[in-house]
Amino acid sequence: MPLAIRRLVAQPSFYATAGAVLVWLVIVAHSHGVGGGAVISGALNYSVFFALVGVGQMLVMASGAGNIDLSIPANITLAAYLSSGQMQGANAGMAAGFAIGLLSGVIIGLANALLILALRIPPMVATLASGLVIESFCFAYSRVSVAKPAPLLVSFTTQRLAGIPLVVIAAIVASAAVIAVLKRSLFGRHIFACGQNMTAAWLAGVNVRRTRVFAYVACSTFAALAGILFAGFTGGPSLNMGSEFLLSSIAVVVIGGTNVAGGQASVVGTWSASIFLFLLLTMLNVFQVDPGLKNVITGALIIAVLALGKANRPQAQ
């Protein structure tokens, strides 16, 4: 293989991207070229939420083996309810809605960090438990309050600029900022140091605790942001709007090439994987595949992309 191709293949995000392109080609071939562009812009429009949530989950997963946030679905739902509840369908409440939604994300992140760092409960179980508690709040809130997103928010999530949804452009900007932070900032350096070896990071002067708190807070803030926007996109919150995000937030991160053992992450890969999963669903729906077979194919492809990526990527031992 020529060097350029080898480099490309060695990128963590390569296989997710290649998978997305491949699936897109299959769809377009099947529809004889009809709607190729619309498929992409539709995919972007949906993937943006999975990518946003995925970037947050990615930060947590990169901060060390075993770190994971399972409270994301409930978190999304709560932020959606709180923000839409604040907006009450009027543009006037939009800023306050965003503020309260994001605040709930920050608080949830802090609470998760508290359970994990202070009570030393393993992240997987701690966030599972906190998710259950948050779910109760959603449940209670949904019964006492009317929640409707601001029209401006709704149009922001669906309007397009040159065929690309506005919300996608905004999310890409945010993701670029995350890339910059990870590559160049102290926080990025610290999070990857913690991700590889917490003891070593501590002894190298990294404030491990603060870094980990930050990762969890960033994650749940991203999830809350996605929740607020998603409520706009779907026209209003619903109690199980977050459930789709539980497994997919993990899937997009890892298919995207982020190291589950921590210490390394790929924002681009997370985006690619989000798009890949949506296009995969599109393909299976377009082909009218039976639900059973659909699940089998989805599962097998997730494993295949992961396996291909791992098998051909040089790795540190």
Partner: protein
């Protein structure tokens, strides 16, 4: 490269094993070039050489963990084919004590002994494995005091090392004929190290062979019957150990012996840097002043590490009432695998991680400055690599350790905490390090230095001796003597 051979014996005669024309490269790095080696029954073979000379790689090949690019492994007069691996090596009586420990931390010493003896299966394995490991432990390290039922991860590193060594000598259907020990004494205190060396001397009498890799040349000079010297991926000398002098060994290794750096009296006296009162108890407290180099002595595992951690934590939080620290501290651990390196990163990132804060504006790091800093320290501390952008894993153990020292020196910390930082570091490197310490302390840095090597204590202005977590003695350099140290270590003062 002409090999100097001073013992005139012919090859193969009585050889338990032989390596012929072994070559191995890792990418661009040639780790071994056409290496030959024989090991005969009844000998204790010393294998020495600078960091990165290829010793560990050679032993990994011998043990079947790594396969050579070229060359033959000949065991019991038979060349091994590609199926050769640890399982077969065990069956043929080859054992290895690795440089990086290889016990399962969640298993007890008994269970760890079991895993190298497939024949212990069936009922009663627990009892048999226990008696195997205990017998050897008692034999090699009398009075070791190790709980063989507790998971070895709970044991201090010195005890773990003992377990691994003892395990290498256990015998069931699998006999131990050739035992490779890669820097086995690096985590042992001096009395345990002596116990081990004397045991090795005894055990080769009944026909076994031992290969001892070490950077502590005294061990080789005093105990090895034959010494093989490696340098730059090849064997450069194969000499008899009897009558070998230190100077001669240095010449063979290609190092010129320079006088030890003699530190000058510090000129910063009076400025208190560290003040530990609380738990240390005992006759004296622990005080460290600017420009001072303070040694922590005593048997391994008697609380020296804990004090270092405590000082480090206090320097960062300032909340410890019993431990007042003025200034910032940097930590260098000798346990690089577990508390040192970041395996996914380049050498550069590994060096700069502790100082990136000062290289950044706002919270963004200046990449140019960062690279420059890494490059500067690579040169200053002489890390052997083509570029600082290479992965840290491409370095040999000793060079990885240098990168960790560079990490601490590159910071602006006033206090450097050394947790046995020269573990597995060759003599040249050590000397470079000593002079670095000397010049740094002249500029006001102070060092708190826990070491398992008595030689290094003589470089300290003051030595605190630990016993069971407490400071039991405090000696200034002029009072320092080997006897005094031993006495205090065993708390017989």
């Amino acid at each position: 490269m002409a090999i100097q051979r001073t013992d005139g014996r012919a090859a193969d005669e009585g050889a338990l094993l032989a390596l012929r024309g072994i070559s191995k490269s890792f990418g661009p790095v040639q780790a071994l070039k056409q290496v030959d080696l024989e090991v005969r029954g009844g000998e204790l073979l010393g294998l020495v050489g600078h960091n990165g000379a290829g010793k560990s790689t050679l032993m990994n090949i011998l043990f079947g963990v790594t396969s050579p690019d070229r060359g033959d492994i000949i065991l019991e007069s038979q060349a091994m084919d590609e199926r050769y691996g640890p399982a077969l090596a065990h069956r043929l009586g080859i054992r290895c004590v690795f440089q990086e420990l290889s016990l399962c931390p969640n298993l007890s010493a008994v269970e760890n002994a079991l895993i190298v003896h497939p024949s212990l299966e069936g009922t009663g394995w627990k009892r048999r494995a226990k008696s195997l490991i205990l017998t050897r432990l008692h034999e090699i390290f009398p009075g070791h005091g190790i709980d063989v039922q507790t998971p070895v991860g709970n044991l201090p590193i010195g005890q773990r090392q003992m377990v691994e060594i003892a395990r290498a000598f256990t015998e069931s259907n699998n006999l131990a004929k050739v035992v490779i020990l890669d820097e086995p004494t690096s985590s042992l205190d001096s009395s345990a190290a002596q116990q081990l060396l004397r045991f090795l001397q005894r055990t080769v009498l009944d026909g076994k062979a031992c290969i001892l890799i070490t950077h502590k040349l005294t061990e080789v000079l005093n105990f090895a019957q034959r010494v093989v010297v490696m340098k730059d991926a090849g064997v450069v000398a194969d000499v008899s150990g009897a009558g070998l002098s230190r100077e001669r060994l240095f010449t063979l290794m290609g190092s010129v012996e320079r006088a030890m750096v003699t530190p000058e009296a510090s000129s910063f006296a009076g400025m208190r840097r560290v003040d530990v009162v609380g738990n240390t108890g005992g006759p004296s407290e622990l005080r460290i002043e600017a420009g001072e180099t303070v040694g922590l002595a005593g048997l391994a595992g008697h609380g020296q590490k804990e004090v270092l951690h405590r000082i480090y934590a206090a320097s960062r939080s300032g909340r410890d009432k019993g431990c007042r620290v003025t200034g910032s501290a940097a930590y260098v651990s000798g346990d690089r695998q577990r508390e040192g390196i970041f395996p996914l990163w380049s050498i550069a990132s590994n060096i700069t991680i502790a100082s990136v804060r000062s290289l950044s504006r706002g919270s963004f790091i200046n990449p140019v400055k960062e690279q420059r800093l890494a490059e500067a320290w690579r040169e200053k501390i002489n890390i052997r690599s083509k570029s600082v952008l290479q992965s840290i894993l491409s370095l040999s153990g000793g060079n990885r350790q240098k990168a960790l020292v560079a990490r601490a020196f590159a910071t602006d910390a006033e206090i450097i905490l050394f947790d046995d930082p020269t573990r597995g570091v060759d003599f040249d490197t050590k000397r470079e390090l000593y002079s670095q310490i000397d010049s740094a302390s002249r500029s006001g840095r102070c060092f708190v230095w826990y070491t398992t090597e008595t030689d290094e204590l003589f470089l300290c202005d003051r030595v605190y001796v630990f016993h069971e977590g407490k400071v039991v003695d405090s000696l200034v350099r002029s009072e320092l003597s080997e006897e005094r140290l031993l006495q205090a270590s065993f708390h017989e003062a």
